[in-house]
C-alpha cells in the first residue's frame, strides 16, 4: 500500500479526478436545479448520450471541438424538451418518462454513430479541446446557479415552485415557465457533460461512453442535499473515488476495485437512510402539479 502513495501517484490522481469532475458536476448541477423546481429527471444518462454523440459528430465534421460542444448543448436542450412537454404539460409520471429518455438517448446515440461511421472510412477522430476549459465553465455554472437560487427574487420564486407550487401560483408565479426553465438548464448542462466526454475526455466516440455518469450525478444530488455547495463536494468526492478506482485496477492493490466503484452509491444510501434528516428534499419534488386538483 505504501508503495503507491508516492507524489507521482497523488498528482496523477488529482489530475485524473479533475478530468472526471466536469461531466459529473454539470449533470448533478442540472439535476439539482431541475429537482429544486419539482422535476426529478432520471433520464440524465440518455441526455448525456445524445450530447456525447452530437458533440462528437459535429466536431468531427467541422474539426472544431468548441462548435461540437455547442452542438452537444443544443441537442441536450432539444431532447430534454420531450421530457419537459410530457411532465409539465401532461403531468406524466416523471420516472417513467425519464426511464424512456434513457432508452431513447442511448439508442439514438448508437443509431447515429453506426450510420455516420458506415459512411466514413477508418477510425473516427475529432480534435481535442483545452483540458480545463469545461472545468472552469462547470465551476462557474455552480456559482451562477447558487447565486440565482439564493440571491435573486426569481430564484426564490423558482424554489417555491419546488416546495409548494399551489402557494407559489397564488402569488402569481408562472409555474410552467419556471419548470421549462428548469428543464432547459438541465438539458443544456447534461448536453455539455456528454459533449465533454467525446471532445475532451477522449476525442472519439465509443458506445457506452457515458457509463453510468448520469446515475452517479443523481446520487450526488441527494448526497449533496440538493444544495450547490453540497453537490460540488459530493461530485468532487465521487470523482476522486472514480479516479482512485481506475488506478487501483491497474496497480492491482489488495482492495477489490469494485468496492470503490460501489462506494458512491453505498455512501449515498447509508447517508440517506441513517444520517440525513428528512426534509432536505424539495417537498414537491417528483410530484406533478395539477391545477384543478385540491
Amino acid at each position: 500500500m505504501s508503495s503507491i502513495l508516492t507524489v507521482a501517484f497523488l498528482t496523477g490522481l488529482l489530475v485524473a479526478a479533475l478530468r472526471m469532475l466536469p461531466p459529473l458536476l454539470l449533470g448533478a448541477t442540472g439535476e439539482m436545479f431541475s429537482e429544486r423546481c419539482g422535476l426529478t429527471n432520471i433520464g440524465l444518462e440518455g441526455i448525456m448520450s445524445v450530447g456525447a454523440i452530437t458533440g462528437f459528430v459535429v466536431s468531427y465534421f467541422i474539426q472544431n471541438p468548441y462548435v461540437g460542444m455547442l452542438a452537444g448543448v443544443l441537442s441536450g436542450l432539444l431532447v430534454n424538451m420531450i421530457y419537459a412537454f410530457l411532465t409539465i404539460q401532461l403531468n406524466a409520471d416523471q420516472v417513467i418518462v425519464g426511464n424512456a429518455m434513457n432508452i431513447l438517448g442511448m439508442a439514438l446515440a448508437s443509431l447515429i454513430y453506426t450510420t455516420v461511421s458506415k459512411s466514413q472510412s477508418g477510425q473516427l477522430q475529432s480534435v481535442t479541446a483545452d483540458n480545463y476549459f469545461v472545468l472552469v465553465v462547470s465551476l462557474a455554472v455552480v456559482v451562477i446557479i447558487w447565486f440565482y437560487l439564493y440571491k435573486t427574487k426569481s430564484g426564490l420564486a423558482f424554489r417555491a415552485v419546488g416546495e409548494y407550487p399551489r402557494a407559489a401560483e397564488t402569488l402569481g408565479i408562472n409555474i410552467q415557465k419556471k419548470k421549462y426553465l428548469a428543464c432547459s438548464v438541465n438539458g443544456i448542462l447534461c448536453g455539455l457533460a456528454g459533449a465533454y466526454l467525446t471532445n475532451v475526455y477522449i476525442t472519439s466516440y465509443v458506445s457506452g461512453i457515458v457509463s453510468g455518469r448520469g446515475y452517479i450525478a443523481l446520487a450526488a444530488v441527494i448526497f449533496g442535499k440538493w444544495k450547490p455547495k453540497g453537490v460540488l463536494l459530493a461530485c468532487t468526492f465521487f470523482a476522486f473515488l472514480d479516479a482512485l478506482q481506475l488506478r487501483l485496477q491497474v496497480a492491482d492493490a489488495s482492495i477489490p476495485y469494485q468496492f470503490l466503484q460501489m462506494l458512491p452509491y453505498l455512501c449515498t444510501l447509508l447517508a440517506l437512510s441513517f444520517f440525513m434528516k428528512p426534509g432536505s428534499e424539495p417537498k414537491a419534488n417528483g410530484k406533478p402539479y395539477i391545477r384543478e386538483s385540491r
Binding site: 420516472v95 469494485q258 466503484q261
Partner: protein, 356 residues
C-alpha cells in the same frame, strides 16, 4: 356484456394505437438513415415469425421480460415505484450461480430447484431492504432502488471476478451450469426451455393474488390510497415491505431462469437493463399481468426481429429501442389524455361548432 367489451377496448386502445404510431415513426427514422423502411420491416417480421426456430427464440427473449414486467407490475400495484428489478435480478442470479456451483454433486433437479429458490430468496431480501427503507426510514424507493442496483451490480462483478470465477477462463465469469442442472429444453433443436412455462405460471399467480385473494385486495388498497388503507386497519408499512419482497423474488427468479435456461453463466453485461425494460413492459401492459405478458411478447418480437434485420440490411438494431421509447412516450401521453377525457372534449367542441 357490451360494457365489458367497451371497457376492454378502452384499455387496449392506447397501447395498440401507440405501438402503431411508433412503428410509423420508425419508418421515418429508417428512411432518414438512408435505408429502405419497407425492406427493413419485412426482414424484421420474418426475423420474428419467419420460422419455428425464430418463434422459439422470440419466446426465449420474452421469458425474462415477462418476469421483470410482472415484478414491476406487482410493486406498482401496491404503490411502490421501484426501479430496482435490475439489481434484484443480478443479485438473485449470482446467488443462484453460487448455489449451483456449491452443490453441483447433488442430483440435477435438486440443484436447479435449489438454485431457483436461492435466487428468489436473495432477490426478495434485496427488494425488502428498499421496501423497509421506504416504510420505516421514509427513503424514496426510486432513489434507494436506483442506488441498490449499482451496489448489486458491483457486488456481482466482484463475486464473478474473484470468489466465483471460473478457473479455466481468461475473462471474469462464473463456471458454466452443469448440464444436469439446466432447465430442460421444450422444443428440440431450439433454445426454448421450460422457463416460458414458469414465466406464464408466474403471471397466473400474480393475477390470482392481486385480483382473487383478500391479500391482493389489501395490496391494491395500499397502492390506491395508503391513508385510507391505514384507516381500514391495513398495516401499510408491512404491505409495502411485502410487496417489495415479492417483486424482488420475481426479479430474482428472472435472473435465475435466465442463468439456468439460457445463458448458463454470469459475466459482465448479464441481463443488462432487463429490469428497465420490465418497467416499459409493465406500463404498456397497463400494469395488468395479462397485458404484461402480451407487451413482453411484443417487445421480444421487436428485439428478435430487429437483430435479424440488422444482419440482412444496414439498419442498426438500435431502431428497436427507439421504437420502444416512443411507444412509452405515447402510452404515457395517451393515458393522461384518456383520463382527462381529452377526446370527449374534442368531440364536444365539434358538436358545438356544428350547432352554431
Amino acid at each position: 356484456m357490451k360494457e365489458a367489451i367497451a371497457k376492454m377496448l378502452k384499455k387496449v386502445a392506447v397501447p395498440v394505437v401507440s405501438a402503431i404510431a411508433a412503428l410509423l415513426i420508425g419508418i421515418v427514422v429508417i428512411e432518414l438513415t438512408g435505408n429502405n423502411a419497407a425492406e427493413a420491416y419485412s426482414y424484421m417480421l420474418r426475423g420474428a415469425f419467419g420460422s419455428m426456430n425464430n418463434i422459439c427464440e422470440l419466446f426465449v427473449i420474452a421469458v425474462p421480460l415477462i418476469l421483470t414486467g410482472l415484478a414491476v407490475t406487482f410493486a406498482y400495484r401496491s404503490g411502490v415505484f421501484t426501479i430496482g428489478v435490475d439489481g434484484q435480478l443480478i443479485i438473485g442470479a449470482i446467488a443462484a450461480a453460487w448455489f449451483v456451483e456449491a452443490f453441483r454433486n447433488l442430483p440435477g433437479v435438486v440443484v436447479a430447484v435449489g438454485g431457483i429458490l436461492t435466487g428468489m430468496a436473495v432477490g426478495a431480501v434485496w427488494g425488502a431492504i428498499a421496501g423497509a427503507l421506504k416504510a420505516y426510514r421514509r427513503v424514496n424507493e426510486i432513489v434507494s432502488t436506483l442506488l441498490m442496483n449499482y451496489i448489486a451490480l458491483y457486488l456481482a462483478d466482484y463475486l464473478y471476478t474473484v470468489p466465483l470465477a471460473a478457473e479455466s477462463s481468461k475473462i471474469p465469469q462464473t463456471e458454466r451450469v452443469a448440464e444436469a442442472a439446466r432447465l430442460p429444453v421444450l422444443v428440440g433443436g431450439t433454445r426454448l426451455h421450460i422457463g416460458i412455462l414458469i414465466a406464464l405460471f408466474c403471471a397466473v399467480i400474480v393475477y390470482y393474488i392481486l385480483y382473487k385473494t383478500a391479500w391482493g385486495i389489501k395490496f391494491r388498497a395500499v397502492g390506491i390510497n395508503a391513508v385510507a388503507a391505514e384507516c381500514n386497519g391495513i398495516s401499510v408499512k408491512k404491505y409495502m415491505v411485502a410487496s417489495m419482497a415479492i417483486s424482488g423474488a420475481i426479479g430474482g427468479l428472472a435472473g435465475t431462469i435466465e442463468l439456468l435456461g439460457t445463458q448458463y453463466r454470469i459475466q459482465s453485461g448479464f441481463c443488462a437493463d432487463y429490469g428497465f425494460d420490465g418497467i416499459a413492459v409493465a406500463l404498456i401492459g397497463q400494469l395488468n399481468p395479462v397485458g404484461t405478458v402480451l407487451a413482453a411478447l411484443f417487445f421480444a418480437a421487436l428485439n428478435v426481429g430487429s437483430n435479424s434485420m440488422e444482419l440482412m440490411t444496414s439498419v442498426p438494431s438500435s431502431i428497436a429501442d427507439i421504437i420502444q421509447s416512443i411507444i412509452i412516450f405515447f402510452v404515457v401521453a395517451g393515458s393522461v389524455l384518456m383520463e382527462r377525457n381529452f377526446f370527449k372534449k374534442i368531440a364536444f367542441k365539434k358538436e358545438r361548432r356544428a350547432m352554431e
